[in-house]
Subunit: 217 residues, 2 copies
């Protein structure tokens, strides 16, 4: 496997680095709860959010059958761009145009195929569930044949992949340092509140260990 750079679309900024190493890419894909999938619909770009999960060097995407992209992917494969972005903080500089975000993003370019093998599909659906809450696939009622037929899973190989990571604080020109504007970073995280049981949950069912507390990997 080789991770290739995506087409250069934005110039590299200070403290913003393009990365192609596997560990960085995997870490971002595994932590992000959702992705945004871009594809062509009647010649126009469409971007939709969905959930994803990585198994080795394959990225699986959750979809529904009967929808445009799924039908396209079932024949020749569907050209897609899958992008995930984690926002880690606000970067406030003295100068307006030096403001930035701390973020980690991955862009995957490829051709999505519809997963048709039953075993691969079941494993992918387990992975999609475990991606949301690790261990959940073993602690839920497995799909039956009717449900399986009504659900589509797409697969994209991790071949043309890049990550971009922006860390650190603001970078102001020397002339701006003494200006009376606060500068620094506001760290941001996706925080989980206490789980709320369903109205119809039997009170004897305990909260599973993977939800106390809930954390992204």
């Amino acid at each position: 496997m080789s991770y290739l750079p995506t087409p250069q679309t934005t110039p590299t900024r200070y403290r913003e680095r393009a990365r192609y190493d596997r560990a960085t890419v995997h870490g971002i894909l595994d932590e992000a709860l959702i992705c945004h999938v871009g594809y062509l619909n009647a010649g126009r770009p469409v971007v939709l959010p969905t959930t994803h999960a990585r198994r080795g060097e394959t990225l699986y995407l959750h979809g529904s059958t009967g929808s445009g992209p799924m039908l396209a992917a079932s024949s020749d494969g569907l050209p897609v761009c899958v992008t995930v972005t984690l926002v880690d903080g606000l970067v406030l500089a003295r100068a307006a145009l030096r403001h930035s975000l701390q973020y980690r993003s991955v862009v995957v370019l490829g051709t999505a195929r519809l997963v048709q093998d039953r075993r691969e599909k079941l494993r992918a659906l387990d992975a999609l569930l475990d991606h949301i809450a690790s261990g959940r696939s073993a602690d839920s009622r497995p799909p039956n044949s009717r449900e399986l037929a009504a659900t589509a899973v797409l697969a994209v190989d991790l071949v043309e992949v890049s990550a971009k990571v922006r860390v650190g604080g603001p970078v102001d020109d020397q002339d701006d340092i003494a200006l009376p504007h606060w500068a620094g970073v506001v760290p941001l995280t996706l925080a989980a509140a206490a789980p709320e049981p369903a109205d119809d949950l039997n009170p004897a069912v305990p909260l599973p260990p993977y939800l106390e507390p809930y954390r992204r990997p």
Copy 2:
């Protein structure tokens, strides 16, 4: 202005509703810190994250000059799809395929134009800054001509827009209710930690009111 439905790409699910009302769309766009922009690059879909800000019925996108999409938008306009997604919670059902996320998303289809009028560009850059931290544009050093020339802003009119909102808890089949799996919702929010001053910040500069505490609108 009329908000038109986007092409139907996924079937409507239970407790998931497509919405086209202005207040819902504006609220989601204003709260989301980033968007994902899809466009065509050499005939292939590309999706990149960037910051955005709404002014009335126009959505502004931050970019850099010299990059592919910006050049395209400067001539004839660039067909884009701008999607923002807020994740509000995990929805854990007893059945594997009834799991879901609570989310709010907006999809904007349109043609992006490069903002070339100097006054509109300055107003848009203020809006992009105030979108990140309300009041910040008045509390930072304004762009100079050199910086302005090195920064690109795209504008997309909010015409073909839709929102999708998924609220509520899990919806299991009656036969699954008695299964021994926990069911409910794990609420998620973007949480801000205490602001961290830059290393070179004069300690006499106080934390501005709009950062204590930092909250999305």
